[in-house]
């Protein structure tokens, strides 16, 4: 089992999110900043579209040969003095990490941002094992103080406002002057930097994620802006890399291609501040760096996605562009999705990893506007895959009964045009009658989801099909 999911309660979560005034204030930044920054970075690189194609092709090639590249990667890590630990499940991954910490007698562990760490619920497991995990990415640090999971894969605390962070810092950083000024984000950052600097220097083990694992050289790559990942992996006696199998990339050149679309899609930078390539532990003559280098490679259901309709999802490089451009994410934020991965990529990935029974609601959280696919640097057909999940949900009778019967009823008529036309004419006539004088309908049977928030406009004139037909006749005659 991985971290607890509330994805089943998606609808309730979403309603609560839309009524949360603080959350709505915080989300207003997503709608404007991320989109504008990405667009400006993309506009400055004429080759961006061509790079999306090469990035997609590199991942497709890698996935088709993933077994062989994994073997090569493992051999190269071993050759450079590192260790690879394969984990089929979240539990195996947690055990691998905890065993290393126990062997080294680790008391505290610093952590760079890792979605795999979230996926396997590592912090809780470390605490149970008597090891104190300290998140060092500013956003991750804030949500760790609050006992929350990230609401965004690259901006974990995007659901919070400055004053909420201030309140958390005052609550937790009790050794400091209670009258200190924390009214500016710069002051909050300075305080976190000061507190975390001591943690970096005291940590026994450092855990980071990985954006890429390079088969050619046995190298792991992290991409950050803060430098916390580098302090995490450089200072302690051991560096543990957490990554999933699809992070494998064949060569350094392939990484260079994908890096060109990663930061631009994520934060709108040409290049993130720190892109760090790590190959093995400290070498002879090195005055710093970790004495041990471990890579825990997690499967957790991914190997079974290959060869299915969901294989393309394994191209995802976790840039966050899909959620940054998603009207549903803009309205409800990340926590409503109920598990580790929010937004369109989460709506596709979550059912794959924790099952359709748990995550089946998420693929419905889309207007199918298509923006996610349009901005995805890896050209993942996200709406198409959400549609596949909806079909499966319907086939397996997992959708609520009124929805299933409603669709079945509609399907019956839709497949029979001779019945469909008079039936829709009848429905329109009834609706028009119902809304007469007002031009709108305040209440619909089975339609409260619509009418409890706004009136349904009553139909004006004949059906679309009737008008289309009339237009066709006109066209022919003229």
């Amino acid at each position: 089992m991985t971290v607890h999911s509330t994805a089943k309660a998606f609808k309730r979560n979403a309603v609560r999110a839309m009524q949360d005034e603080k959350l709505q204030r915080a989300l207003s930044h997503v709608r404007t900043n991320f989109i504008a920054k990405r667009q400006s970075a993309v506009d400055k690189l004429p080759e961006f579209e061509a790079l999306r194609d090469t990035a997609r092709d590199i991942k497709n090639h890698t996935l088709a040969h993933l077994d062989l590249y994994l073997e090569r990667y493992e051999a190269k890590v071993t050759e450079s003095g590192g260790h690879v630990h394969f984990a089929r499940t979240a539990e195996e991954a947690r055990t691998a990490v905890i065993n290393i910490c126990r062997r080294l007698g680790a008391k505290t562990v610093t952590k760079g941002k890792s979605m795999i760490g979230e996926e396997i619920g590592l912090n809780e497991a470390l605490e149970d094992a008597g090891v104190k995990p300290v998140e060092t990415d500013l956003g991750e640090y804030i949500i760790q103080l609050r006992g929350e999971i990230p609401s965004h894969i690259i901006a974990p605390a995007v659901h919070l406002n400055r004053d909420q962070v201030e309140a958390d810092f005052r609550r937790v950083h009790t050794g400091l002057d209670p009258h200190r000024d924390l009214s500016q984000p710069t002051q909050l950052l300075a305080e976190a930097r000061h507190i975390l600097r001591e943690r970096f220097l005291a940590a026994d083990v450092g855990i980071t994620g990985a954006n890429f694992l390079i088969a050619e050289t046995g190298t792991s790559v992290i991409v950050t802006n803060e430098g916390n990942g580098d302090l995490t992996q450089t200072l302690p006696q051991a560096h543990i890399v957490l990554a999933s199998i699809e992070k494998i990339t064949p060569t350094l050149e392939d990484v260079a291609q994908i890096l060109r679309v990663l930061a631009r899609s994520a934060t709108g930078q040409d290049m993130s501040v720190y892109t760090t390539f790590s190959t093995g532990p400290r070498r002879a003559g090195d005055p710093d760096g970790p004495g041990e280098y471990h890579v825990v490679i997690l499967d957790n259901g991914r190997s079974a996605m290959l060869g299915t309709q969901f294989q393309d999802m394994l191209r995802c490089i976790r840039c966050g562009a899909c959620m940054n451009h998603c009207p549903v994410y803009h309205a409800i934020g990340g926590h409503a999705y109920g598990w580790v991965y929010p937004g369109p990529m989460g709506a596709v990935l979550t059912p794959s990893l924790i099952g359709l029974g748990e995550g089946g609601n998420l693929p419905n959280a889309s207007t199918f506007c298509g923006r996610c696919e349009a901005v995805c640097p890896m050209k993942i057909p996200l709406p198409g895959m959400m549609r596949h999940w909806r079909e499966r949900e319907f086939e397996r009778h997992l959708a609520p009964a009124p929805q299933r019967y409603g669709l079945a009823l509609w399907g019956f008529f839709a497949k029979r045009p001779r019945l469909y036309r008079p039936a829709t004419r009848l429905a329109m006539w009834a609706l028009a009658l119902f809304g007469r004088g007002r031009g709108s309908v305040p209440f619909l049977p089975f339609g409260a989801g619509w009418t409890s928030h706004r009136d349904f406009p009553s139909p004006q004139g004949p059906t679309f099909q009737a008008r289309w037909q009339a237009r066709g006749k006109q066209g022919k005659s003229s």
């Binding site: 090469t54 077994d67 406002n161 950052l189 930097r193 190298t219 916390n228 710093d288």
Partner: protein, 224 residues
Amino acid sequence: MSVARDEILATLRRSLGVNGVEAPRRAAVEDRLARSPSGVIPKRSQVTGAERLALFKRQAEEGLATVVLVPDAASVPAEAARYLRDSNLPATLRIGDDPRLAAMPWETTALDVSKGPSGGGDLNALSHAFGAIAETGTLAMVSGAENPTTLNFLPDNHLVVVAAGEITGSFEELLGTLRARYGKEKMPRTLNLITGPSRSADIEQTLILGAHGPRKLHVIVVEG
């Protein structure tokens, strides 16, 4: 070899409908690893000489680093001293064992220069870059006693020396020089690509410099 490893590989092969020993698949993998083909290289990076230097400077400054050009290596200590003085910073510097740095006339300045990795107590550090990428204004730093990795991250202010002749146009050209130095399929323990000073936008998406790494990044390009 672990059970988990074998089972993951077996599941992958079952999903892909392969057995792992097919010659064409193996050849495709070997070929890619041997040739490491380049994909699309942005036209912007295909410049040389003064144009390349100008591109590096422009891109690094866009990443919020400061860049100064000096005529030769002997001018580096004076420029470092000037930068610290103008920034109202103490005249101290932590450096590694790089012979290129050791050969510079530090004694002509009032700088208090100490050697070795950082334990967290150094305010200012100076490193010599392996190279740089003009395309994105990125510095390439490699680990080792010459330029310890801790100097890139622990000090508040990081000064980096780079030789103009070692600035490449594209990312791929830098990878070429890395292979020439370390050998095919080999890497230094750590390669840090650095584009500007440390930053975070995790609070209300407000960009703030100096998150955990250096608050300032000053690049000294040696033209001679």
